[in-house]
Amino acid sequence: MRLRTIAFNNLRRRKARMAFLVAGLLVGIATVVTLLSLTSALTTEAEHKLDNFGANILITPQTEELSLSYGGITLGGVAVDPHELRQADMVRIREIPNARNIAAVAPKVLGALEVKGIRVMLMGVDPEVEFGLKRWWSVRGRALQGDDEVVAGISVARRLGLGVGSEVDLQGEPFAVTGILEETSSQDDDLLIISLAAAQRLLGKAGTVSLVEVAALCGDCPVEEMVEQIAAVLPGVKVGAIQQVVKTRMHALEQFRLLAFGVAAVVILIGALVVFVTMMGAVNERTREIGIFRALGFRRGHVVWLILMEATWVSLLSGVLGYLAGMGATWAILPWLAEHHPQLVWSFPLAGGSILLALVVGTLASLYPALHASRLDPTEALRAF
């Protein structure tokens, strides 16, 4: 028989009150876990989406006239760019210190062609990389695979009367139309997209590319630094970051995170109040019992210790159950909030943190009731004398 036997038996044989105490704290912890793990899962998903959302670094030739969008090309379809990037140099991009942050390097060559008497823009791409990068592209038919295939933007397809399965003659070579890009309301609608090798051949730009789009992997990776690193390995080219997209999305996520923390703090506070009120009630209910303990020679410290020990066990249980309940809730909610393959992450820091939080909140909320109990006058408490 030790103090912990008393505490343990009290909890074990007064299950209803223990359940209420555990529930009060559990709801708080579960909410915090749910919000944090949801935020974490959504951030991961958003970052993942960001990786596939498109390029955030643009490498273009060092030419002042070039526009940032699709360098060297004007809407009139006149190629003004005498400079091209050397394709062989592009492997150096993979050698920068932050190379592991590079999700995709998408080189392309651009040029104007006359097809059926109409001037059109031709873009040569690495099909696998490009169609992976441009997630928003919706292709009727299928994406490019071979060097004799073409995917046409919706506007140019209309102008040239192209459809999936039709054929088009480019510089005397027949290309099969495998897909039509659904409307993007961008310059992409006016493009004929073929493989990089075929475009280089047709445009007479063997071994060169017009621009390279680079997708950096994460939301908070150092884009500016990567820009500098790429500029260092590719002297004489222009490297720019398209930060707007990244920053906007990260800002939104940051706000969501702040909101989650705010809500979590409020819920934890309510949980603490529930524990406090229940513990206070329990102490008042146990006044007589505490009087007995004191009369039998328990020191004040023993009484405080007894009550805090009970609080610790309740908190520990609430922490563990709260974490599991929170993960369960996340598992149930995540598919409704996330778009792609949400990942439920069993995070040890979150598990440890939620148990620690439960312990801190539960113990702090019980501290005053415990001190109050220890200060009870034994005679008053007993009312026997």
Binding site: M1, L3, E289, I292, L296, R299, A384, F385
Partner: protein, 236 residues
């Protein structure tokens, strides 16, 4: 010197403008091995006297010495230590802890002592057997009769082998037969050398005591030596 020395014990309760003198300068000396009955009307101050003697309630004036220890000169938590080492309490309403078994209730005073758990359990079993409840050790208080609960309370008061046993109306809520059993048990303990101070207002208990003091309006009224005690007379 007597085992217990009480000098000029005064206790005043104040509540707002109300001032109640529960004890008005009580002097009392009790020798070791005595079975003392403290009697008096309700409100005479007998329970206050017991509470002060038990180190539960600070007197307004006067002193209490038990075994040469001046109780209310003890600082901090040493009064709690004194209660643990020197006193066994038997309460009128048993005051067992409802969520602990009979055995656990008996072990309660040992919970804060550093002693191997096996030894604590052994000691508790011995006293439970002494009060005739060896077979009921796993029962919760609400599974025991009033008499059995009182026996558990007595066992709990004895488990620490205290020099002084304080009892407040221990038979107050028991029927006559059970009361007799409890008084017999206390009397046997006293025969084994246990000093007992028992507060009662039941005149039927008079026959069990060695000595009876009565209080009236906070003052010592009568002090009678009784002999021979009831059980001895019966057995003789």
């Amino acid at each position: 010197m007597s085992f217990i020395q009480i000098h000029g014990l005064t206790k005043v309760y104040t509540s707002g403008a109300d001032r109640v003198e529960a004890l008005k300068g009580v002097d009392l000396a009790i020798t070791e091995g005595t079975f003392l009955g403290v009697m008096g009307q309700s409100g005479s101050g007998k329970s206050t006297l017991l509470a002060i003697l038990g180190g539960l309630c600070h007197p307004t004036a006067g002193s209490v010495q038990v075994d040469g220890i001046d109780l209310y000169a003890l600082g901090g938590e040493r009064l709690a230590d004194f209660r643990r080492e020197y006193l066994g309490f038997i309460f009128q309403s048993f005051n067992l802890v409802p969520y602990l078994t009979a055995l656990e209730n008996v072990m309660l005073p040992l919970a804060v002592k550093s002693m191997p758990t096996a030894e604590k359990r052994e000691r508790a079993r011995q006293v439970l057997a002494r009060v005739g409840l060896a077979a009921r050790e796993r029962h919760l208080p609400n599974q025991l009769s009033g008499g059995e609960q009182e026996r558990v309370a007595i066992a709990r008061a004895l488990v620490n082998r205290p020099p002084l046993l304080l009892a407040d109306e221990p038979t107050g809520s028991l029927d006559t037969t059970t009361s007799e059993e409890i008084m017999t048990l206390l009397q046997q303990l006293n025969e084994e050398g246990q000093t007992i101070v028992m507060v009662t207002h039941n005149p039927e208990n008079r026959a069990w005591f060695h000595r009876i003091v009565s209080l009236r309006d906070g003052r010592l009224d009568t002090d009678e030596a009784m002999a021979p005690p009831k059980a001895q007379a019966v057995h003789a």
